[in-house]
């Protein structure tokens, strides 16, 4: 019903309402990279199918991360990550639900790069923790780019690392998030 209405308005050239429909920006191809650095070994994994959405009006922010889609350079690392650490059969998705606390400082109509403070609930391995992070939102004519980087400790998410390999996995893992969000129109 609403869709039809918007469609009608669009074809009659009333652009004002169009903006309302564009409060929500999204992507299905966001990337998350995590990096663990120790003297013995660097471990890196990339995920290119992160789903993310942002409501520019409220500053609400949400991510869904399929854990099995993290790609490692070493096959055995990927197997251990899924089988032993995050148990991705049991907990297939990592999620983040939060908001941009300084949303009013970001002018989504004017292209530019803005600092964004984000806080919310991060759930990995079935464990939820409050996190906060500083990031950037870049507004362009068509897209929103939202990027951030923060550290998390596997132990906080009940991911236990056996003593035998403890020296190879860092106590804190750096997580880098890069997303290009487009207006959600349907």
């Amino acid at each position: 019903m609403k869709r039809k209405f918007i469609f009608l308005l669009l074809i009659t050239g009333v652009a004002a309402v169009h903006a309302d429909a564009q409060d929500r920006y999204f992507t299905k191809t966001g990337t998350i990279r995590f990096f663990s650095k120790t003297d013995l070994e660097n471990i890196e994994a990339n995920n290119n199918i992160v789903t993310a959405a942002i409501d520019i009006k409220s500053g609400a922010l949400q991510f869904s991360v399929p854990m099995k889609a993290f790609e490692f350079k070493k096959a055995l690392m990927q197997e251990h990550f899924n089988e032993n650490y995050v148990e991705s059969d049991k907990y297939p998705n990592g999620t983040f639900k939060g908001r941009i606390t300084n949303n009013k400082d970001i002018n989504y109509k004017t292209p530019g790069t803005y600092n964004a403070n984000v806080e919310g609930d991060l759930t990995i391995h079935g464990v939820t923790n409050k996190i906060s992070s500083k990031g950037q939102i870049t507004v362009t004519a068509q897209l929103l780019e939202a990027n951030t980087s923060f550290n998390i400790a596997p132990a906080d998410y009940k991911i236990s690392i056996p003593a035998l390999v403890a020296d190879k996995i860092s106590k804190t893992v750096q997580v880098t998030v890069n997303t290009k969000l487009e207006p959600f129109t349907r």
């Binding site: 199918i49 789903t51 959405a53 609400a60 399929p66 350079k73 998705n93 056996p162």
Partner: protein, 282 residues
């Protein structure tokens, strides 16, 4: 105060965005290793992974303390397996029993999956050749070179039923160019069954058994049975087990297992698997 409430209200922010997870998801981690114990398992090596396998079978446990429960003697097989592609693995090895060299090709035709067009089982085929390496110089009548060879073809059908439980059936056909007596058939069929039960994230209980058909009457050989634990420690998988099979390739454990579980003629054994990533993903 308001901010906390906001997360809950925005719970539907991802609604209408179908999950970006690929529509077909392969079932992984049916076993810790590419072998159940003796047999090939449903697992394949990942592309570019070299698996160095050190297999040990000690002497009979029931020899008592004078033989240190069999640990004084050992039969070994050293082997290298390599993952050519996701669904194709090659391997070669040499066992001290009969000084046999063996090689195999393992192909996965179907991988268990969920989602769109799910596959309830995995289906694999293994083909292998074995060659007796010991000297036949002093043996009469003279044996030909081709007598050293045996061939096998195996089908593996299995399913990871739950996170912890995997079961497979693996019938095998074996042809030996040379058999001990005229009463022995050169062709052997055997029905194999194997599985694992995960006891913890890193430890599983494994069972591996074959029923060998067409053994000639009075044959001194028994059906091979191995029972043991897989212990995965990171880079290694240790398979510690008890077995009545001394041989460590398909030909010898199917046709030359002279020990009998019911007589207590069992051995302690272990397989060590060490993986090396030779070719990395870009």
């Amino acid at each position: 105060m308001i901010s906390v409430g906001l997360y809950a209200q925005d719970a539907d922010l991802l609604q209408g965005l179908s999950d970006s997870v690929r529509s077909r998801q392969y079932v992984t981690g049916a076993y810790k290793s590419t072998r159940v114990i003796m047999s090939q398992s449903l697992e394949m090596l990942k592309p570019g992974v070299l698996d160095f396998r050190i297999l040990h079978r000690f002497g009979n446990v029931n020899q008592g303390i004078s033989e240190f429960f069999g640990l004084d003697e050992a039969t070994i097989r050293l082997g290298f397996d390599y993952g050519l592609t996701k669904n194709l693995t090659v391997g070669i090895g040499r066992g001290s029993f009969n000084k046999e060299v063996d090689g195999f090709l393992k192909l996965r035709a179907l991988q268990q999956s969920t989602g769109t067009a799910p596959a309830p089982v995995s289906l694999l085929f293994v083909g292998g050749i074995t060659m007796i390496g010991q000297s036949w110089k002093d043996i009469a009548p003279k044996r030909e070179f081709q007598h050293r060879f045996g061939y096998y073809l195996q089908t593996i059908i299995g399913r990871k039923f739950t996170e912890a439980f995997t079961l497979q059936v693996n019938p095998i056909f074996l042809h030996r160019n040379l058999v001990a007596t005229t009463a022995d058939n050169n062709n052997t069929f055997a029905a194999g069954v194997g599985g694992r039960l995960k006891l913890s994230k890193r430890i599983s209980l494994n069972v591996d058994y074959y029923y060998v058909f067409d053994k000639r009457s009075g044959s001194p050989f028994h059906n091979p049975l191995s029972v043991g634990f897989d212990i995965e420690t990171g880079g290694h998988v240790f398979q510690l087990h008890f077995t009545n099979a001394v041989g460590m390739n398909e030909k010898v454990f199917l046709t030359e297992t002279f020990n009998d579980w019911f007589n207590g003629d069992i051995q302690f054994g272990f397989n060590i698997s060490r993986s090396f990533q030779l070719r990395r993903k870009k």
